[in-house]
Symmetry: C2
Subunit: 349 residues, 2 copies
């Protein structure tokens, strides 16, 4: 069935997609023949179109409209036909100017997301997996609350603070908690989170007996802090900005669709699962339409890239926009942004 696509058909597909991305209008055979640069007639183009249609690369909205690329057509386009424009010097400079290295990861993520949204005129996003492997524990602090609850404050890396309320078996005094925190800081501070988790589990196993009561309790508190979150592989930090720009696109003028999309943004869950899938991949990755498996992303594409330090993936960033987007511009933007974020993080280390 899936026959080989001839060189000419490929070229025509490329020109068609480019034209459609530019104008948003179905492309007819006459116009395509003209723009293709090839010296062929419209009729020949029509034959090629018939082939492409059979292969599911293009389709007509109706009998006498031109052709429009299908998701599969877009896929072929970005995979093997696209010619990427490098970014201009100026644009790169703008970005590097925006990347302040101080401020928390949160702030960095926000500014990067804004930048992506601004440059592409679409929605930008940045994910920081909370359990980023490179994170190391800096400091633990406990504070008693009313009724058997304790406020735990974790300082992670340089400047990220996390606080959690944990429940314990009885009331503790400030002094006791201080002692527990000291103990844990001694044991755990400076180690990577991954490591911390390990140590806690190990200690738990080893200390069934003959250990000071206090340590025992301290470790069980730490367990609540570090071990549970792993199983709830839930909310990573996730910044999304410029969503409202998506309301400007015709293909999303259907309110129902838009609503679904914004609900998905609010949920975060779905989007995050999707982004998780990108964590392994290298370089820029693209989801076209509902390839992602999420109906709400029907008319949308995501262009993402991971950013990393020392070859280790720290997170994902990218943009969301209509399927009909200027890939040849968006892809290098996402690519470069990811690289510059990687560089900035490496430097601030």
């Amino acid at each position: 069935m899936a026959e080989e696509i001839g060189d000419r058909a490929q070229h025509l597909l490329k020109v068609l997609v480019e034209s459609y991305i530019r104008s948003g209008q179905p492309v007819g055979s006459r116009a395509l023949a003209r723009d293709s640069g090839l010296d062929v007639s419209a009729a020949t183009v029509r034959n090629a179109m018939a082939d492409l249609e059979e292969l599911g690369m293009v389709s007509s909205p109706h009998t006498s409209a031109g052709r429009v690329p299908t998701n599969r057509g877009y896929r072929m386009f970005v995979d093997s036909l696209l010619t990427v424009k490098p970014l201009s010097e100026r644009e790169i400079i703008t970005l590097s100017g925006q990347l302040g290295v101080d401020g928390s990861n949160q702030e960095l993520a926000t500014s990067v997301s804004d930048y992506l949204a601004g440059m592409t005129e679409m929605a930008g996003m940045v994910m920081i997996p909370r359990t980023a492997k490179r994170s190391s524990l800096r400091h633990i602090e406990f504070m008693p609350l009313s009724g058997r609850r304790i406020l735990a404050i974790l300082v992670i890396n340089e400047k990220d603070v996390q606080n959690t309320v944990i429940k314990v078996d009885r009331q503790y005094t400030s002094a006791e908690l201080q002692q527990a925190a000291n103990f844990l800081n001694n044991e755990l501070a400076g180690h990577e989170l991954f490591d911390v988790r390990h140590r806690i589990l190990k200690e738990l196993r080893e200390t069934k007996d003959g250990m000071e009561q206090m340590m025992h309790q301290a470790i069980s508190m730490a367990e609540q802090l570090f071990v549970k979150p792993e199983s709830e592989a839930d909310s990573d930090d996730f910044v999304l900005s410029g969503q409202t720009r998506l309301m400007g696109f015709d293909e999303l003028s259907n309110i129902e669709k838009l609503r679904g999309l914004f609900e998905a943004f609010n949920e975060k869950q779905q989007i995050l699962q999707l982004l998780d899938r990108c964590l392994d991949g290298d370089g820029v990755q693209i989801f076209i339409g509902e390839e992602s498996g999420y109906g709400v992303l029907d008319e949308c594409s995501m262009v993402t890239s991971s950013y990393q330090v020392d070859g280790e993936v720290l997170g994902i960033l990218g943009v969301i926009g209509p399927t009909r987007m200027a890939y040849e511009r968006v892809i290098p933007i996402v690519d470069i942004t990811a690289k510059m974020v990687s560089a900035a993080l490496a430097q601030s280390k």
Copy 2:
């Protein structure tokens, strides 16, 4: 000009608004005569409508449509014509069930906002002024960062944590910072924020000389933490939920309007300024259409109420929806919610 409105005209306005809120359709004279309960003919109603139109209470979309209330008409309606339905027992129980007292204020706000959104099928919002008067400082902690920066962690009230990065004149060691924190905790912990600010300024004035170097520095750090934020009367905590529900209303099916609205939600600034204005008011307050002065709220109304403890206003909560909303239902919901939140907060004190 603004002549007195007759009793009958008032009654007719009331019935008209109710009918319009129910159906969303302009109300004609015949239907209004029928529904009014009055024993008058359509012609009489027409005369009354002509009067109301002259007073700016109603208007016709076009010559041969019925009448629609204007903002002014709505205003009159909610101010003096509305009969409020009390909430059913069941609904109140649902709410009190949802109000968990544990968890941070953030979490409380989120759950209240969700509740409002769910009950009214519109968008819910809760504001917690960051500088809430009743807040008292619990604990301060410093941690050195690279390059003359210090991470400050404030625990406020029971369970709210705030962290800020401050810049200082030189590097400090952990020990020095510990000392400074101890000093500040001794001086300030347990006091209300308002008080804290006062004390810092006082100390600053008094300690020009003859004070230990260290205290001096500690106080100037504290100044950065507590005094500056007051001038930037910027971001209070603000939770908004169920925005996407607004996309379901016909009057907001205009994408441009919707976009403006959602951009305002993202900015927060504008909405917050608006809510600030409610802080003084007592009980339920209502903004109809662009009464607020913000064009983006054109076809929307806000129903808000403050919540308080010991007679002191802590924040604002409410809902946003289309001007054409079921006020007689929404108002008691907002009212009761505010009261229950107030009660819950008083109890958790």
